[in-house]
Amino acid sequence: MHNRVAIVGIGQTTHSGRRPYVNDGELIYDAVTRALADANLSLKDIESVMLGNMDLFEGHHLNDAMLSLYSGAMGKPGFKMNTGGTVGTMLAIQGWYHIASGMFDTCLVIGWEKHDEGPVTPAITTITDPSVDRPFMVGAIGGLATVSIDYMNRTGCKLEHAAMARANASLNAARNPNAHLRDKYSMQDVLNARMVLYPLNLLMCCPTSLGACAMVFASESKARKITKKPVWIKDHVTVHVEYGGAQFGVGEKRWTSHMQAGSTIFKRNHITNPRKETQVFEMYDPFAFAIPSWMEDFGICDTGEGWKLVEKGAIALEGEYPINPSGGVMCTNAIGDSGMLRVAEAALQIRGDAGEHQVTREVKQALASGFGGSYWTDLLLLSKTTD
């Protein structure tokens, strides 16, 4: 049986599209000092440090070593993970492994990205095989547009429903001082935005932001000494699927990785009614159809029910099942940091420390997901208590 792992400190920078007055290291240092302050710890108390992002977004090879001064890793153990869009959630899971394995009592994990410095779309294009499909890829949006069309055809969801989800995210982000895009939009505002690739318009795609998020994890004995409000990582799962390339869309168009991740977590934790037994979901939602369609894939609701819940306002801050009270990836997307923000924001909701974007229902258990790579999924279940 593994050692229990708690989140005992959370720090995030504010997020924006440009922040020229700090360099990469200073951005990370900002998040790290906030997380340490939140945990009321000093760097001396931290046994290991992990830094993660996607290398080619800023161009630095081995940047965990290069930025070791700013992350606090100097003279400490740690290593870098890089799994694409899931890197933020993977870092949280990496932190979990460090402590659950019994090898460490405390660790600091940092996810970051500074998208204003590098070429985002060309870097994303290089996820493909150079010999076959790289010449034909333009960023990540093509595949997402395809599945959006399929979702609409399959379930009766309309463009309006994606716009509703996006509008809801904007209202939430307006209450989150750390979010990047904080303008409020109505459903009509979203529908009026410039079309990028049908059915996704500019507001239905995630932005490119910069920012960093740091978290301190601790073993049970340490956690109880550090904080009165530890948030426990009750379970986590990672599910990969084959590299799709052109094949995606030929076979199934649903996210098998989300489906398997959801069913695994719910089964292992005896959750039969996820909308009741978990109270909030911080979902990695890189496009506006993500929330309605992925609620179904994760098993939060039945097939065809996702957009109806959006229509009913269930996902709102004060709704039946709030999703992304932080505003989500639609409003803030610094890729290496996006996944970790999901975990951090879910933990803040459990602590009741989310401030203006705290959901109205009491949160005992929360979900946080990561998405990336060739349609890969990380899913974490956080809990207020250890039982």
């Binding site: 290291g25 200073e26 606090g72 204003d116 590098g118």
Partner: protein, 154 residues
């Protein structure tokens, strides 16, 4: 399949990974580069907590992790800690080989800076030798505004 394929010519996809970046150096390093560009002066930082003097100047203390915001002026003279003479070519080099690179500890600093060593007979390179900075005529606010460090004439 394996043996059969070995007989045939391997097939390659030739190309590049080309990515342009525009890095912010941050407020503190901006001041450092502007000082070099405008006044030919090399600055370090002094940690307000542990008094460590750090060059090149970073906004975090390498010893106590405190935040550092202010620059202190250094003389531009220092001692050679270690060095090498480069004899090979590579795609990233800023100089034509042979040339010398060294780690130089500026007077008054606790850490050292890496840069070229010029106007020197390679045979005379020695740890502990006194060096001073030479600046380029045209300066663009980056580390290459320092042309190299040269031996101080006795």
């Amino acid at each position: 399949m394996a043996n059969e394929a070995v007989k045939k010519e391997p097939i390659f996809t030739e190309g590049y990974v080309i990515m342009p970046y525009k890095y912010s150096v941050g407020t503190l390093a901006s001041k450092f580069f502007i000082q070099i560009r405008d006044s030919k002066k090399i600055n370090g930082v002094k940690c307000p907590k542990c008094n460590m003097v750090i060059v090149p100047p970073r906004s975090v203390c390498i010893k106590c992790f405190s935040k550092i915001e202010d620059l202190v002026e250094l003389s531009g003279k220092g001692t050679l800690v270690t060095y090498t003479v480069v004899h090979y070519d590579s795609a990233v080099q800023a100089m034509k080989p042979p040339y010398a690179v060294g780690v130089i500890k500026l007077d008054g600093a606790d850490t050292a800076i890496t840069h070229f060593i010029g106007e020197v007979d390679f045979k005379e390179l020695k740890a502990g030798m006194k060096l001073e900075a030479v600046f380029n005529e045209t300066r663009n606010a980056n580390i290459l505004d320092i042309k190299y460090f040269k031996p101080v004439k006795k």
